[in-house]
Symmetry: C2
Subunit: 337 residues, 2 copies
């Protein structure tokens, strides 16, 4: 594909400032010769960081923005009112077709609101789910929806499954992804009303490789490539994953530091432990995509460094080169026949 | 309180056979002079194990049962049809008022069904939740409902909160327990329709000390004493807790065994690690209570040993001595005024 892929990077809102966005952007250009980047934010600051690097100046455009969206602002209001914020300016480029994808480490709420209200849903898409790659003892699983939509209908869950499956196949290279529905038992009669109604829709879908229900205890073992849940359950899963991992590792660290003997032992296991824990970092696969929009919107962690920005650029390239949006729209046309 | 507390122990269905039930029962008698125990199951086998111990024979009664409920049987049907199973015989003793509490390591589904259909709900109780003590980096938190009821109404969640609060106060000795509702954000406007409707009911309840919403990432840090969720969300939390802990510890073990250096280090950290992990075992507080019945039904782990049986006896004693059922009924009378 020879077309230029145009990606916006919102340089405001991350814990590490715009410097990491600039560094990650320049690295991304090196990896992909067909990419052009827009950096939204404080122009003088961005250009000052850019001046530290050698790069093709025609491939990065800096767009000055006079406003910032704060993490603590009510998201919908912020997106509506701050039209010259780095986020809204970037999202509007996608809306107008001047960019294909948008990356931000800013407020998740504002990114969700902006994706829906500024960029807008693709044809046939009922709701736009936020997806996250969960690290597991096997390969990472895509969990969606992670909190963009609560109280959804069964047909919406089916669309999540279909979008997630296309994403995993096209962007993460998983062949015929195993799609499971998050449930409280593996038997077909299990579940709440929503899951019970969604189950037969999943089973009958021609787009997905449905492998049935998955209990949350099996999720960490990588038993599915795509895990579908409503936004309340998905958000509960992703945040518990984060909190429990953090707590257990903190407690173990405390244990290691508790005696002289364990301190010495800790030094000896450190390298192997680090190697294992690195396996659980899925950020080399990019950030969390908001799916089903007219373009791709990616939320990266607030504490992202340049490596995450570069990975997100690759994620956007894979998404665009594989025509994911078109495949999603086509899938939904067929399913509505 | 001088009355005799009568507790049934179902000796069938656990992974470790009836021997651990017998051993735990005899130990329980030593701890509590006011307890009488009924052991349901295979009489000859139970008596053979009992003959190994010295105990007051008037305080243990063995009841022979000709049937067993299997883990894989459809629970409702099993409870209805197997009237001479160790579980149904035991539950009927509670129903008839001949026993105060029932302990089993058998099929969770059958225990839930049996609790509701055989023992029956206490006056004013809409639904009977299964509660679990979650280990945290602070003190354990009671999570309910862990899967007995999906698709509930807001008033039902409120009852769960009230029952959980009374339980934590009376059985676990937590003063003025902090009650939180499982949610996807801490702001009052967050949540799905159920949580949004339940929130003001929680806030206005005079029975509980409501501290607001808890996000699942905060659960492992012990930020609440009682955490209320519908059975789908609660089941998702408890099973993810179990699965993720197991996966992470297994991966770490793999890391420890990966090199000679890490193997030696592992030996040196082992003791401190074990001490830390023991903190996360809440089984000394008893099993999972099914609340809101005319009596107490406790589900202990399938792999329980005698220690868990003994702890569950203490849990039943605390429950009965503190008149928890009466307090629940009284609480609901007041709340309906």
């Amino acid at each position: 594909m020879s077309d230029i892929i145009r990606i916006v990077i919102d340089t405001i809102g991350g814990d590490n400032g715009s410097a990491v966005c600039v560094k990650g952007a320049v690295e991304g250009l090196k990896n992909h010769s067909n990419v052009k980047l827009f950096l939204t934010g404080h122009k003088a600051e961005i250009e000052s960081y850019l001046s530290e690097y050698e790069y093709d100046k025609s491939r990065i455009e800096v767009i000055d923005c006079s406003q910032e969206i704060d993490l603590n602002e009510p998201p919908v209001q912020a997106v509506r009112e701050k039209k010259d914020s780095s986020m809204v300016v970037g999202l509007r480029l996608v809306k107008k077709g001047e960019a294909d994808a948008f990356i931000s480490s800013g407020s998740t709420g504002a990114i969700l609101a902006g994706g829906q209200f500024v960029v807008g849903r693709a044809k046939g898409v009922k709701r736009t789910p936020l997806a996250h790659l969960l690290p597991t003892s096997g390969s990472p699983s895509l969990l969606l929806d992670c909190g963009a939509n609560v109280d959804v209908k069964p047909e919406v869950l089916l669309q999540f499954a279909e979008m997630g499956s296309i994403y995993m196949q096209c962007v993460c290279g998983v062949d015929n992804p195993r799609v499971a529905i998050a449930n409280i038992g593996v038997e077909e009669e299990k579940g709440n009303a929503l899951v019970k109604k969604a189950y037969p829709l999943f089973r009958d879908s021609k787009i997905i490789n449905f492998t049935g229900s998955i209990e949350s205890r099996a999720i960490p073992f990588g038993k599915a490539d795509v895990i579908v849940a409503d936004g309340f359950v998905g958000n509960t899963i992703i945040k518990l994953y984060e909190g429990l991992s953090k707590m257990l590792l903190r407690e173990l660290k405390g244990a290691f530091l508790s005696t002289v003997r364990s301190k010495i032992g800790a030094i000896m296991v450190k390298k192997s432990m680090k190697k294992t824990l690195q396996k659980f970092d899925a950020s080399d696969k990019g950030g969390a995509p908001l799916l089903g929009l007219n373009g791709l919107v990616v939320k990266i962690h607030g504490n992202s460094k340049d490596g995450e920005v570069t990975s997100a650029i690759t994620q956007c390239v894979n998404f665009v080169e594989n025509d994911v949006t078109a495949k999603i729209i086509k899938g939904f046309e067929n399913s509505e026949e």
